[in-house]
Every structure is written in structure tokens, then in C-alpha cells.
Amino acid sequence: MSATQVMPPASPNSSEIPAKRTLTTKPRFSDKVFRGVVTGGGLSSLIILGLILGYLLYQGYSTLHSEGFKFITGSDWHAVIDDNGVFDPKNSHFGLAAMLIGTLVIATIAVCIGVPISVGAAIYLTFYAPNSIKKFMVALIDLMAAFPSILFGLWGFFVLESSGEYWARLLHKYLGFIPFFKMEVPYYSRSPFIAGLVLAIMIIPIVTSISREIFSQTPLDRIQAAYALGATRWAMIRAVAFPYARSGVIGGAMLGLGRAMGETVAVYTVLNIVYQVNWHVLISAGGNVASMILQKFGEASPAEVKALMAAGLILFIVTLIINSLADLIVARAGKSGR
């Protein structure tokens, strides 16, 4: 219509910078519906998490209020009931330190043993395994991830216990000078070390599967560049695959750590749950927060249940902190190598 119309020349004083325009778009109806559905999905997980957190806070508040900071630092757990069967708050003490330390100790053992095995398995599956073996093993590892934890617990109790004891003796004999492996009483069974072994096996599937996924995404052009420079397979993995996968593998390890910290039934089955601070991982005494909650919950008085709720809240927060730290590490490690 006005095709011949010429744009007016820019005004001579157009050097002044105009205000930034707001960029908008009118979404279609279908887009709005879809956005609503996925937003609902995303929010619901947040809401559920928030409700659990709120409930734990509500139930555990009285204990947290009366115990104060000693709930985390104290390490005795006594729910005293007086002669009339009434809860006696004056003589009762709830301190979580022993179980918190136990949680960290067992989870650390699990990660130290489980992650190297998982990363090795992931590298084998990605860069070495023939296709047929690879498919079979991936299916097997996925199956392992879906195993109920009580089965790991029972297997650990009946089968792993004896060989675990043997390894514990070796550790004590050759590495006994390290404080963690010190033993005063030679009673090795049902120790945090063996619980850590069971948890290590439990976290292998998820860590392997995440690591394998990341290793398999290593850019082909970098792999080829390494090979074209005369690299052996191992040299290529070290120079190219490790830097690329580092942050993802750390992320996978942290997921494993999260699972190890929250694991309840397997620890309850394997470990001799004793309420004391125990750094000596070979000694037959220990526990973690989750297994303690399971142990005490059945017989707990209403007041103690509140204390257990508070314990759950602390576990929740500790796990959250550790996961955030992990995210931080992943973000920093991810800067180079990608």
C-alpha cells in the first residue's frame, strides 16, 4: 500500500539513548494450559516438601525450644517417665550429636568405598565394555537400584558380616595407628564399617548410572583429538573424559551421599545401634539419625516422639546443607573442562 513511503531520516540529535522497551508476547491458550500443568507439577513437589518441613518444625518445636543448641551438641538421649507414668521434662535429655556423627561417619565410609567402584564401573561401561556386556550390565545395575533396602540389610547381616569382619581385622592390623581404626575391645561385628560397606553397595547403582551417563556425553571431537595425538585409551580418559565429567561425577557422588545419610532399614539391620559418640569405625557400636528414629519410634512416649520429629528435622536440614554444598562444588568444578 504505502510501499513507496520512505523512512524519515533519523533526527540529527538521535544520539540520546532511548528508554529500554518492555518485550512482551501474547501466549496462546494451549500454551497457557500447558504452562499451568507443568507449573503445578513443579510447585507440588515444593509444596509437599514444605508441608513435611512445616509439620516436623511444628511437632519438634517444643523439644528444640527446651533443649536449645544442646539438641545438636549433646549426646545423651533419655526420656524419663516418672512413677505416675508421666513424662518428666526436667530429667529427660535429648541430644543428637552421637547419631549425627554416626550419620556422617557411615555415609563417608559408604562414599569413600562406593564412589571409586562406581566411577571405575562407569568408565569400563563407557569406554571398554563390548556392546553386549554393556547392555546386560546396565540393565543389571538399574535393577540393583530398585532393590528394596531391607534385602541389602539382610544380605549384609547374614553374608557380608563375616567377610567384613575379616577386612576390619586387616584394617586394624595394618592401619591401626590411624585413630579411626583403633580397637580396644576386639569385637568387630555389626560396626559402622560394615554398615558403611552395605551402604557403599547400595549407592553404587545410582552413582554408576549418573557417571556413565556423563562419561558417555564426552564430546567425540575431543576424544578424537586425543587419539590423533597418539594417546592410549587411558591417557585419553585422563586428559579428556575426566575433566569433562568431573562436575557431573561429583554431583552423582553427592546424590549417593544423600542416600547414604538417609538410609534407615539397612543400617538398622546391620548396625549395633548404641547411643554413644563413636569415631572408631571398627567398633561394634554406632547408629545414624534415621535408624535411631526407627528404633525408638515404636516405644516412644508422646513427648519422645516430638523429640524424634525434631531429630528428623535436623537430618532434613543437614542433608539440605550438604546437598547445597555439593551444588556449590559442582558449580565451581564445572567452570573448566566443559
Binding site: R222, G230, M236
Partner: protein, 297 residues
């Protein structure tokens, strides 16, 4: 309609002198480039392909290519996409076998020895026959200096004086003056053309006798392309270079010899090889002529 238009040209062509067929620009570029003759006083080692075939699974991708690469020369491999030239170049340093279903037949002789012979250490072959890829692929986790010296680490080679080697390789790749003040910054921050020259420097650090270049300039702008071509010219005195290119001007500018590959539906074949100026001015085969004059492909 296209055929009708082509017909008079075809007739005209038949009447023309062979030497006048090729566009004068290409022939002119190529004519200014006298090929080094074998046996002239050049360093480096030749490479010989003897009856090379290549397959991907059941697909026969390359058929019976025999080609000699004289020491210290630049050979360009040209031809339309899918004609097997990249496949061929990858058989020359055994990168072909990375594709899981890949197979090959024939021999590739380096110093007269078959690189596919049983008992050959393939990593040693790739040290002698280096490769530069289509897409610049520096290691992003390494600095510029580490990138150049990466081959030493990867192949566990010792170097007396790494600083000298670093400077020498970057100098030969034509990159030294641009990066000498930031050797410890990451390679990924360089421009595409600089990254590609970094990759060339990286290949040179392990002192290859042959350098394979698979369309090294196809992702680069003309300025960077020119720099890489200068680099190729400088290198050709000491390294045997084999370059795959879709850019015919480039082939005419940098190469001593040109081989034309073509696939007529079936496996790719080498149609013709000769001194570059002859391929561009007096090709023996009609198909080569059609391709270099831009009438197809």
C-alpha cells in the same frame, strides 16, 4: 529446462581447446604453484596407500584407492560430499576404526611399512601421522600452552625444553605473535581461526612426519583461512601434508598434487590424480573437468 540450457554449452565445449576449459582463475592460481617433484631435496616421509577399501557395516564406502604422497608435498583431496575423501584420509592414521562397524582392506605404507600390520602400536602411528579436524577442537580444560604440549603428555613423550618447543610450534602454526602474552589463558577463549591454528600447533608438537587435514578451514572466515593456508605453505617444507577441501581455490593455492574423488551411487573412488596445475587446467577425465569447472558438485 536445465538440460536444454546446458546443451549449447556442451557443444561449445567440445570445440574448445582443452587448456581453455578450466576457469582461468583456478588454472591461473594452480599454474603459479609448481609441484615439488619426488626425489627433490625435501625432508619428511612419504605415505603410500595400496588398494584401500573402506566399509561402514555393509556399506562399501571407498573402493580401491591407490595413491602415493611424496615427501614434503601438499596433496589436496577434492570431490563432492559423500565421495569418501574423509573416510580415505582417516584410513591413513587408523582413525577410521573408531567407528564401531568400520572395516578396511588394502595397505597403507609409512616408510614402506604397513601401518595395519599385526603387532603395530597404533598410538605410535598416530604420532607420526598427525591430524587436524574440521571443527577446531582444543581441550577446553587446558591453557594454550598446555594444549600445545598436550600430545607430549598424552603419548608420554619426554621433551628437553618445553618452552622452546612451545614457541617453535606456535610459530610454525602462525599463532605465536597473537598468543605469546597469554599462554596461560584457556584455549577456548580464542577465535575459531586461532583455535584451529592452536590445533595445528598441537599436532606439530609431537613432530609428525605426515599431517592430515580434514577440511581444516570449512568452519573459518576468509581471513583465518588465509592464515591457515600460509601455515600450510610454511609447513610443507618439513611435513608431508594431505588436505581434504571443498574449496577449489584452496586446493589450487596450497597443493602440489590434487586427487579427485567421486561416488556414482556406489562406493567412492579416486577418479584422477596429478599435479594440481594439470588437474585444474588439463584434466584427463571428463568427470574431473566437470567438477573443477563447477558444472556439478
Amino acid at each position: 529446462m536445465a538440460e536444454n540450457e546446458n546443451e549449447p554449452i556442451e557443444n561449445e565445449r567440445e570445440n574448445m581447446d582443452k587448456t581453455e576449459i578450466a576457469p582461468s582463475s583456478l588454472a591461473g592460481i594452480a599454474a603459479g604453484h609448481q609441484p615439488k617433484t619426488p626425489g627433490s631435496n625435501v625432508m619428511g616421509v612419504g605415505l603410500e596407500a595400496r588398494g584401500v577399501h573402506a566399509w561402514f557395516g555393509e556399506k562399501h564406502a571407498l573402493s580401491n584407492v591407490s595413491l602415493d604422497f611424496w615427501p614434503g608435498t601438499v596433496t589436496a583431496l577434492i570431490g563432492p560430499s559423500g565421495c569418501g575423501k574423509s573416510t580415505f584420509i582417516r584410513t591413513l592414521n587408523r582413525m577410521h576404526e573408531f567407528i564401531p562397524t568400520a572395516a578396511m582392506a588394502g595397505e597403507v605404507l609409512l616408510n614402506g611399512e604397513d601401518i595395519y600390520a599385526p603387532g603395530v602400536d597404533v598410538t605410535k602411528i598416530r604420532l607420526k601421522v598427525g591430524m587436524v579436524f574440521q571443527k577446531p577442537n582444543p581441550f577446553p580444560s587446558m591453557t594454550i600452552a598446555e594444549n600445545v604440549l598436550a600430545g607430549l603428555k598424552l603419548a608420554q613423550l619426554k621433551s628437553e625444553n618445553k618452552d622452546d618447543l612451545l614457541e617453535e610450534c606456535l610459530e610454525r602454526a602462525g599463532l605465536w605473535s597473537e598468543v605469546k602474552d597469554r599462554l596461560n589463558t584457556y584455549g577456548g577463549a580464542l577465535s575459531g581461526g586461532q583455535q584451529q591454528r592452536l590445533c595445528i600447533a598441537r599436532s606439530l608438537a609431537v613432530r609428525p612426519q605426515v599431517l592430515l587435514m580434514d577440511e581444516p578451514c570449512s568452519a573459518l572466515d576468509p581471513g583465518s583461512t588465509l592464515k591457515i593456508e600460509e601455515t600450510i605453505s610454511h609447513l610443507s617444507s618439513s611435513v608431508t601434508i594431505i588436505i581434504v577441501t571443498h574449496n577449489m581455490q584452496q586446493a589450487a593455492r596450497v597443493s602440489d598434487y590434487t586427487a579427485f574423488f567421486l561416488s556414482a551411487g556406489g562406493p567412492g573412488q579416486m577418479v584422477e590424480v596429478g599435479p594440481t596445475n594439470e588437474i585444474f587446467s588439463r584434466p584427463k577425465d571428463k568427470r574431473t573437468e566437470d567438477y573443477v569447472t563447477g558444472r556439478f558438485g
